[in-house]
Amino acid sequence: MTLIDYLTAALLLAGAIFFFAGTVGLLRFPDVYTRLHALTKADNVGLGLMVVALAIQAESWTAVGKLLLIWLLVMLAGASVAHLVARGALRRGVRPWKQ
């Protein structure tokens, strides 16, 4: 394993931890809004770290570009859907959770 490989492994593990945290949040948080918050961590940071990890292993710049495009698209979709769901839930009178 070269240094690059170690870096990749570290970034991948960090990404996996964010995915894990996102899932735990999805399961444990009390209402839709807080779950949205947990979810977007997996989208943005988890996938982002994994994309960076795989990008330093990629064979060409086009591959790097494609990886970044995938990440951007997932973030775009994730952010928009999170906004839409939160907005819809508020409009339908779903109360945000209070202690």
Binding site: F19, G22, L26, M50, L73, G93
Partner: protein, 96 residues
Amino acid sequence: MQTLYLTLALFLLLTLGAGMWRVLRGPTAADRMLAAQLFGTTAVAVLLLLSQASGNAALRDVALVFALLAAVTAVAFVQRAWPEQEQPQETERDVD
């Protein structure tokens, strides 16, 4: 390295299975939809890992298509299938 990629893919698949609990429990339709959204992102990550593990660059295109279409089902839900009053849906009889 290959083992690491596959192990992480396996791990992500396991978190996906855990997230399934939210789909089963709800309680609202929005919660179920959110879980499905997380599955989409996880599937993208798994595909990228598998692509790296097998050295098959074409799998990135599959991930790209997933990323592009991740929003379509959710948009269909928000625009059409979300009932106007969000009643907590049926009490869950089939918790397992």
